[in-house]
Symmetry: C2
Subunit: 105 residues, 2 copies
């Protein structure tokens, strides 16, 4: 199965943290940089990787670049997990909790 690098993109802790931050709210690169302890180029590079994986989207506004998490990018992960559903013991009912939550929404 060809996952579009979703796992690899999220494997790096810093990059995952960037995604998590962008899931909370849209932010510009400089705002994002201020929240991490790596340089601005490092952040830009992580964003490029996340964007290539479909995990974030970019919105240009003048000289600013606003990024936000693209939840659809997580779909390959859900798909992948889905493939092993039938092998899962009922013990893993956390997935059911997730569904319950969705139903309640």
């Amino acid at each position: 199965m060809m996952l579009p690098d979703t796992f690899r993109a999220l494997a790096d802790p810093t990059r995952r943290a960037v995604f998590e931050r962008l899931a909370a709210s849209e932010m510009s690169v400089s705002q994002l940089t201020a929240r991490f302890e790596v340089s601005q180029p490092a952040i830009s590079q992580h964003l490029a990787t996340l964007k290539a994986a479909g995990l974030v989207t970019e919105r240009r506004e003048g000289r600013f670049a606003y990024y936000r998490a693209a939840p659809e990018g997580l779909a390959p992960l859900v798909d992948w997990i889905d493939r092993y559903r039938s092998f899962w013991p009922e013990r893993i009912d956390r997935l059911k909790d997730i569904l319950k939550g969705l139903d309640d929404d």
Copy 2:
């Protein structure tokens, strides 16, 4: 959040394929090696990584070591995805399909 290296363990395509194979059925290291194009040590190393991440379990029998996928090891992934549930657009109803499947079982 401190994921127990689940993402990193599944980021490598070969290692992910090993996990997928072990999800289908328990196998010994040599049986597993026969199915891949990397050496036996490489397989052993992948298995060690997967085991450290809680994604496989080992069963010793004489000089054989049988491995099988540990679906519980995927729980951290589900947990992590769950954290962003509220940000997801309804468009991602695939997760609902998963839950439906579980309910039907």
